[in-house]
């Protein structure tokens, strides 16, 4: 609305501006025209002026001529001469001025001709006069030619002037018109400017108003947002909003508290990155559904990372989600507790001795406890929803039914109805009497919302009463009959007395029967009055305490010697029931003859007719055994847990989906994870090498489904990325209902054992190869010869024999090496220790190797020093030759091998070294090359002809000397083998 008005104004302003420009242009153009016209008017005036001047000059010239002719006085000649140039100038001017007008031009030309003739005549006459021929001159004048010219001149000038005046009139009119137009345009312009100003003023006003309104709106928005934020901050619900990319836009204080961080730290962050444990949970799915389907969702779910029930209301918008959430744990628990209490209360209701039925005011059965159901031998479903008076309880007597219906109607009016109901027959046909009552239950003390029908089986009491009454009546009759016979025998009276005693006994008997059920209950049944004195206790209490039942009446717990703490506990619970009128529950200890027992007590209120709690009925059950069993279970659980926590075996419990439910500390220690990083995570995806995941998962599924694979072996990956091999014992986990809930696996880390076994297998394989290869040569060769396949005498036979011999040589070398090494390592070889010179040994060794070095075209450089040492010279030479042999074998042609020695005074050893420029040894192999049959490259043995036992033998020899041997190397640069021999005093 406002916008369109603005647009209208803007259009007005624009068009006004445009017309102003138009008017301006027109005015300017008009002004140009006006000045043009004004110039023309001036121009016309000038033409008239000039032509008049011309005429007057001509007159002056003529006058001068006349005067001179008449007087011959030269003074007259002066004006005559003076006027002549003015005339010529005037004609020139006229010519120029009338250039635009061809008619005038023509007149001017004619004028010029006339003037020149006139001037000629004047000049002629004047000359004649000067020459003293005045008469001749006058004669010429008299011819009147000059006058005729003059007249014509006047006529022409007149015409010119007239024309000009006509033009002047026209031009002045035009000039006036231009003035009028300019005036008009200026008026228009003034009007337009005025309008423009007015519009601008309006626009300004309107814009200011708009701006003010906008500012106001902004302020209101800010204020309302502030208010909203205040509300969101103060509400008990957690609130946060997310944008469409799941980033937090806003969180209130409560949400921050729940997430455990200040709300600011979440803003702009992605919810699933901040709360990764929520991913994949019902909330996650609900959020996504709300976002995708753009509908609000309410969800209440258990969120295990916080051990909480959360109620979540998710409201989507085009730009994200708004989420209110509430900790529903307590409500859940409360609801559960109420449910539990309802269940218990229902149990009390169902099993109470009284017959209780809950009815609508119309008499329809809502609830019925077991008493009447048992009486009728029907189940609850058959009575539910039926009118109370139609139940088989009342027999099939229409009279009784009518009476009950009437009673219900009366009770529905608010009456408390109570009467005896004799002669009701139960399912088995036994007649029973009831103390029947119908109690209306009020809401707000006015409306009856329920009726409670109660029946108490008083058959036994009734019978006793009837008997008693009968006896009394009988007695009275007797008394009446025998009043007059007062004096009858004393024996008669005695008899009556006995009979009365018997009747009273009968009554007592029946009351006892009535109480039997209660009395014989194993549960303690106690009734307290408001002062918490005992009104009634059953015999169970006597059994428990050894105090006879009769001694309890009128006493309180303290009187009976209960420890004051427990007495207080029970008293508090009872007071609660008295105050609230609701059933109370208590678990407490109590002393008994058998020591301390644990009781679970239900404290039920008993109301008087005015709905006041008159007394409470406590029914206490001995749960000591139950408690002990619970404790035993807890103890067993603790023991198991202790075992699992401390055992050096990996224990992992998985749920059905394969997520971790339990891991023991050893598992965490082995994998390097913390419990938080492990619990609830998918086991197979997190802990298994990717290549094995699928297979092991399948095994797990079979374990869950069919209880297969009790033993299994697989690798797991630690946090550091190392693989450990675990041998598992797997078992299904079942719940109390026997359903499979997951698996429990106990595993042994067999990584080292596994590696050892593999090493052993490799070793055997290598040895096998080393021994079998020469044997193959020997056996194959000999077989060819022996079988005559290749004739011995042939050249091929000779070749075959050489193969066998080479094989045999190689076998001998290997066997010797093995035996040598074994003897060295088992200590069966004793070194021949003697004083020797390092230099001698080095020279001997290098001499032995010189031929080989020459063959390989390798320079062998030995720098001997005459150090004295104690050692087995031959063995040390063996070590040096072995090392030199290796160095030569692994060196390229033209390179150098060095043998050197130095004394290390600090360690008191001689250190020998053999250095080459060969290909070098990888760092991780530097130690392993001293193992038996180990070669850097498994193929080296055949290529280089070694047995794989040289270095182990060297190590043995040096160790026997008490020295050490090791290698240092740089790949591609060469290796250096060192060994030390201790310097001993010689």
């Amino acid at each position: 609305m406002r916008r369109s008005l603005h647009n209208l104004m803007l259009i007005g302003i624009c068009s006004l501006c445009l017309s102003l420009v138009g008017i301006g242009t027109a005015a300017y153009w008009n002004f140009l025209r006006y000045s043009d016209r004004a110039r023309w008017v001036e121009h016309t005036y000038k033409v008239i002026d000039v032509s008049e001047n011309l005429l007057s000059n001509l007159k002056d010239a003529e006058t001068g001529q006349r005067g001179y002719l008449l007087t011959l006085t030269p003074e007259y000649l002066e004006p005559f001469y003076q006027s002549q140039p003015s005339i010529r100038r005037a004609i020139g001017q006229l010519k120029q001025l009338t250039q635009d007008n061809p008619a005038q031009q023509r007149s001017i030309e004619r004028l010029e001709l006339l003037i020149s003739q006139k001037l000629q005549e004047l000049d002629q006459t004047t000359q004649l006069a000067k020459q003293q021929q005045s008469q001749a001159a006058l004669a010429i004048v008299r011819q009147n030619q000059g006058k005729a010219w003059m007249d014509q001149i006047r006529q022409v000038i007149d015409t010119v002037e007239q024309r000009e005046r006509l033009l002047l009139t026209q031009r002045i009119t035009l000039k006036q018109l231009a003035v009028t137009q300019i005036t008009l345009m200026l008026s228009f312009a003034a009007l337009a400017i005025f309008l423009l100003m007015a519009l601008l003023a309006l626009l300004y006003k309107s814009l200011t108003a708009h701006q003010r309104a906008q500012a106001q709106t902004l302020e209101e928005t800010i204020r309302s947002r502030k208010t909203l934020a205040n509300v969101l901050e103060s509400i008990g619900d957690g609130f946060f909003s997310l944008d469409e990319n799941w980033n937090f836009v806003y969180l209130n204080r409560k949400a921050g508290e729940t997430f455990g961080r200040s709300p600011e730290t979440f803003i702009g962050k992605n919810i699933w990155q901040e709360l990764p444990e929520a991913v994949g949970r019902p909330f996650y799915r609900a959020f996504h559904r709300a976002m995708e389907e753009q509908r609000s969702i309410q969800i209440e779910e258990y969120y295990s990372p916080w051990d909480k029930w959360l109620e979540c209301r998710i409201y989507p918008s085009a730009r994200g989600l708004a989420i209110f959430f509430q900790d529903a744990t307590e409500r859940r628990q409360a609801a559960f507790a109420i449910q539990e209490s309802e269940r218990k209360f229902r149990a009390v209701f169902n099993y109470t001795f009284e017959y209780i039925t809950l009815l609508t005011p119309d008499g329809i059965v809502l609830e019925m406890n077991y008493g009447p159901l048992d009486f009728m031998q029907v189940n609850y479903e058959t009575v539910q929803g039926k009118p109370f008076w139609e139940l088989s309880l009342w027999g099939n007597s229409p009279a009784v039914q009518k009476r009950i219906e009437a009673a219900v109607a009366e009770a529905a009016q608010g009456q408390f109805i109570r009467y005896d109901m004799p002669g009701l027959k139960n399912y088995w046909g036994d007649p029973r009497s009831f103390d029947f009552s119908l109690k209306p239950i009020f809401e707000d003390d006015a409306t009856v919302i329920y009726l409670v029908a109660e029946g108490r089986d008083i058959t036994d009491t009734k019978e006793a009463h009837a008997e008693l009454t009968l006896h009394r009546e009988h007695l009275e009759t007797l008394v009446k009959q025998r009043t007059t016979e007062l004096m009858e025998a004393n024996a008669q009276l005695q008899q009556e007395l006995v009979e009365r005693q018997r009747a009273e006994a009968a009554l007592a008997q029946s009351e006892k029967q009535y109480r039997t059920l209660t009395e014989n209950s194993v549960d303690l049944i106690i009734r307290h009055d408001r002062a918490l004195n005992f009104l009634y206790v059953n015999s169970a209490l006597e059994v428990m305490t050894g105090i006879p039942v009769k001694d309890w009446s009128g006493k309180n717990l303290n009187d009976m010697g209960f420890p004051s703490e427990i007495a207080q506990q029970i008293a508090d619970a009872c007071k609660g029931v008295f105050e609230t009128g609701e059933v109370g529950r208590l678990e407490h200890k109590a002393p008994s003859l058998d020591g301390w027992l644990t009781y679970q007590s239900w404290i039920a209120p008993e109301f008087d007719d005015y709905h006041n709690v008159e007394s409470v009925l406590i029914s206490a059950r001995n749960v000591t055994a139950l408690k002990e069993r619970e404790a035993a279970i807890q103890e067993a659980d603790r023991r198991w847990r202790y075992l699992l926590d401390n055992v050096r075996l990996v224990v992992v419990g998985l749920n059905q989906r394969g997520a971790v439910d339990y891991v023991n500390p050893f598992c965490l220690e082995l994998t390097g994870y913390s419990a938080d990083e492990v619990m609830g995570k998918p086991w197979f995806e997190t802990f298994l090498p990717p290549a094995q995941q699928q297979a092991v998962r399948a095994v797990f599924q079979e374990l869950i489904d069919q209880e297969f694979h009790p033993h299994y072996q697989n690798a797991i990956v630690t946090k550091q990325g190392k693989e450990r091999i675990i041998a598992w014992n797997n078992t299904q986990l079942r719940n109390a209902q026997g359903e499979v809930t997951g698996s429990m696996s106990i595993g042994e880390d067999i990584t080292e054992r596994f590696a050892l076994e593999r090493m052993k297998a490799e070793f055997i394989s290598v040895v096998s190869h080393e021994l079998r290869t020469p044997i193959t040569s020997i056996q194959g060769a000999l077989n060819l010869l022996a079988e005559g396949i290749v004739p011995v005498e042939s050249s091929r036979g000779h070749e075959v024999l050489t193969i066998a011999a080479d094989g045999a040589d190689r076998l001998v070398t290997i066997v010797n090496d093995i035996l040598d090494l074994e003897r060295l390592q088992s200590g069966k070889v004793t070194l021949a220790i003697a004083p020797c010179q390092a230099a001698d040994l080095m020279v001997q060794a290098s001499n032995l190797m010189q031929i080989l070095a020459d063959q390989a075209e390798i320079t062998l450089t030995t720098t001997p020093h005459p150090y004295a040492l104690m050692g087995d010279g031959d063995r040390l030479i063996q070590v040096m030759t072995n090392l030199l042999n290796n160095a030569i074998k692994f060196s390229a042609k033209g390179s150098t091998v060095w043998l050197g020695v130095e004394q290390d005074a600090a360690l008191n050893v001689l250190r020998f070294w053999v250095k080459d420029q060969g290909r070098g040894i990888p760092t991780e192999q530097l130690e392993r090359i001293f193992e038996r049959f180990h070669q850097v490259n498994t193929s080296d043995s055949r290529q280089k002809g070694g047995t794989g036992l040289g270095l182990p033998i060297c190590r043995s020899i040096i160790q026997q000397h008490g020295g050490t041997i090791w290698a240092e190397s740089e790949l591609g640069q060469g290796s250096c083998f060192y060994f030390t021999v201790p310097l001993k005093s010689i």
Binding site: A761, I764, S765, S768, H769, R772, T773, I775, T776, S777, I778, Q779, G780, A781, N783, L784, E787, I789, V790, R796, E799, V800, I803, D806, G807, N937, T938, S939, D940, R942, Q943
Partner: protein, 123 residues
């Protein structure tokens, strides 16, 4: 006439196999002292069968076998592995798609018989 290629780095054993086969059969025997050489010969003159030693320097028997199986023109050639390793590894080797395994040491006639049996070659 069948043509068989023997690849073994041990000169003695390679020669013994050649002698045995040449003496006991009509087959044409080609020999190679390394996996690389063997592959080159096989490519050049495709044999009807290959006897391949497992433990060799550089390109060992398993690597050579892999190369053979990756080569479209050679992958169909039946290959018998020769090994001096412990016998309990032979099952693992059999799974590599070889015609058979012959364990060293061996006698000439038995070698020939075994080759014939593995390749179903008649005399």
């Amino acid at each position: 006439m069948k043509r068989i290629l023997v690849i073994d780095d041990e000169d003695g054993i390679r020669n013994l196999i050649r002698f045995s086969l040449e003496a006991l059969t009509e087959w044409e025997v080609m020999t190679a002292a390394s996996g690389l050489e063997g592959l080159a010969i096989a490519q050049d003159q495709p044999p009807d069968a290959i006897l391949l030693d497992v433990m060799m320097p550089d390109l060992d028997g398993i690597a050579t076998l892999t190369q053979l199986k990756l080569n479209l023109s050679l992958q169909h050639i039946p290959t018998i592995l020769l090994t001096a390793k412990a016998t309990d590894e032979s099952e693992e080797l059999l799974s590599l798609g070889v015609a058979g395994i012959i364990v060293k040491p061996f006698k000439a006639q038995a070698l020939v018989n075994q080759i014939k049996q593995y390749l179903s070659w008649e005399d």
